[in-house]
């Protein structure tokens, strides 16, 4: 099966339009103005998706689909968002009450209508019929987050195999309710969609999977370097390769204040990388690198810049070696702002030459959540395509 940037654009547009239909359904049903924040086509492992569900403590409603397309859709909410949604639908009902059958039933119905509308868009595009199953309510206390999702990946292996996930972040106009709409088609169904988009010169999907593994290896090296430097025992929580409209890139980050560095890399591929820490983590790092120097802010900033520099090298060196090329890195620029504001100028620069971006994001953290570092890389689309071509089995 082959994938190309053109297929990914088609996927992204379809997913976005389906999500808009879903948002419209909710507006009609609950009277809550809802809009699609960002739509991403993500390549990751099933266990990455499950980790995210567990981390965010999401409750979800699952609906399977079969026929012209096979796979699963999932509507996932934070417990707070679920509660607010149920309250809007049926005031006075507690959505988090395990015995709250009415609450559960209302969430299932919302999902049924929203996800049904979402799948209809895909069926129309493919000029086929897609049947959907009855909705299943899943909370993390009773089931593994994706236990019911039989996500057949590209390699037909276990939880570490790669799956293509269509992810839409939707938000109510008053920001009170946020939810994610996932679609996980089977590998065969991805092939069906690619065929329908009439791609030529596409790349084997294994190239994307190989690149995704490179991202994970790079993040692991970066994690080891942080641990070696600071003595803080870190692990890679998640690594993802997403395809997202360029204007959606800043929205992929929260509005939390972050501190770290931004660097430009050049070669094949070229682009930008941001190594961002939440403020307590940045302070922890500076203190662990410079014990007893709490008052020397210039030196503390230099320490954060240097760890950003080393983390970037750890992340990118593996790419350069695997691609048998050289990737040059600029000196690190210190940044301290809300996450979306840090990424915005980088996306704006890339927007001069591309409409969509590959967004690579990895999270490194400690088991106790006292330290979190997010790595965001935005490679130039054309050059990443060249790199992916090099990774294809036929190369």
């Amino acid at each position: 099966m082959n994938l190309d940037v053109r297929s990914l654009r088609t996927f992204s547009r379809l997913a976005h339009s389906g999500a808009e239909k879903a948002a419209g359904s909710l507006t009609t049903l609950a009277g809550i103005d809802t809009y699609v924040n960002v739509t991403k086509v993500e390549l990751g492992t099933k266990s990455d998706v499950e980790n995210e569900f567990a981390e965010r403590d999401l409750v979800s409603v699952h609906i399977g689909f079969s026929g012209g397309l096979d796979g699963h859709t999932v509507l996932a909410f934070s417990p707070e968002s679920a509660e607010r949604l149920v309250d809007a639908l049926m005031p006075g009902i507690d959505a988090t009450d395990a015995d709250g059958e009415l609450a559960e039933s209302s969430l299932k119905e919302v999902a049924n209508i929203m996800l049904g509308g979402f799948i209809d868009g895909w069926a129309d595009y493919l000029d086929t019929t897609v049947d959907i199953t009855t909705p299943t309510y899943v909370d993390d206390e009773n089931d593994g987050p994706l236990d019911r999702v039989d996500a057949e990946g590209f390699e037909n292996g276990g939880d570490d195999e790669h799956v293509l996930v269509f992810r839409n972040q939707l938000e109510a106009a008053d920001n009170a309710i946020e939810f994610d709409l996932y679609m996980v088609p089977t590998a065969a169904s991805i092939g069906t969609i690619v065929e329908a988009s009439g791609d030529d010169g596409a790349l084997p999907v294994e190239s994307f999977a190989a690149f995704s593994e490179m991202i994970n290896d790079g993040a692991t090296q970066a994690s080891e370097d942080i641990t070696a430097m600071t003595g803080i025992d870190t692990t890679v929580e998640v690594s993802r390769l997403s395809f997202v409209p360029i204007e959606g890139v800043p929205m992929s980050l929260t509005d939390a204040v972050r501190r770290g560095v931004v660097l430009e890399f050049s070669g094949t591929p070229s682009g930008y990388i941001a190594i961002l820490f939440d403020e307590p983590s940045a302070e922890n790092i500076a203190s662990s690198l410079l014990p007893g120097m709490e008052g020397d802010e210039a030196m503390r900033q230099s320490a954060i810049q240097e760890i950003g520099n080393i983390t970037t090298s750890g992340f990118l060196d593996g790419w350069a070696n695997a691609l048998e090329t050289t990737i040059d890195i600029s000196p690190p620029k210190h940044v301290h702002d809300i996450g979306s504001a840090i990424i915005d100028p980088l996306a704006t620069d890339l927007a001069q030459s591309q409409e969509y971006a590959f967004l690579i994001d990895s999270t490194i953290r400690t088991d106790d959540d006292e330290f979190t570092c997010d790595i965001y890389a935005l490679p130039d689309e054309t050059e990443l395509r060249k790199a992916l071509k090099q990774l294809s089995p036929a190369a």
């Binding site: 240097e306 520099n309 990737i327 000196p331």
Partner: protein, 122 residues
Amino acid sequence: MASKVLVVDDSAFMRNLLKQLLEGEHEVVGEAENGVEAVELYRELEPDVVTMDVVMPIRNGIEATSEIKSLDAGASVIMCTSVGQEEKMREAVEAGADGYITKPFQKPNVLQAIADVIQAEA
């Protein structure tokens, strides 16, 4: 025997860290923030060893190493870099680097690298 070391890195933190690691073992005779300063200080201070960062503004470490080697073919330069790319290492060797340490580094590795280049010089 203690050697005179010139520390070159654009990061004040890394220069400070290297000074701490070398304290009591070698004498840090100067610090430079970029390749241009490194060449100037090399001329002025004539150190036994230069620890040279690769990625720096104004002039990078590979260009500075090449220039120092053209001034003094016997100069001992150790690349101290976070860049672990094989091709970059080859560039550094071609520029005349006598050794390299990959960041994040530990004190024994730094001291060993200095001992190695001093021994090779002797």
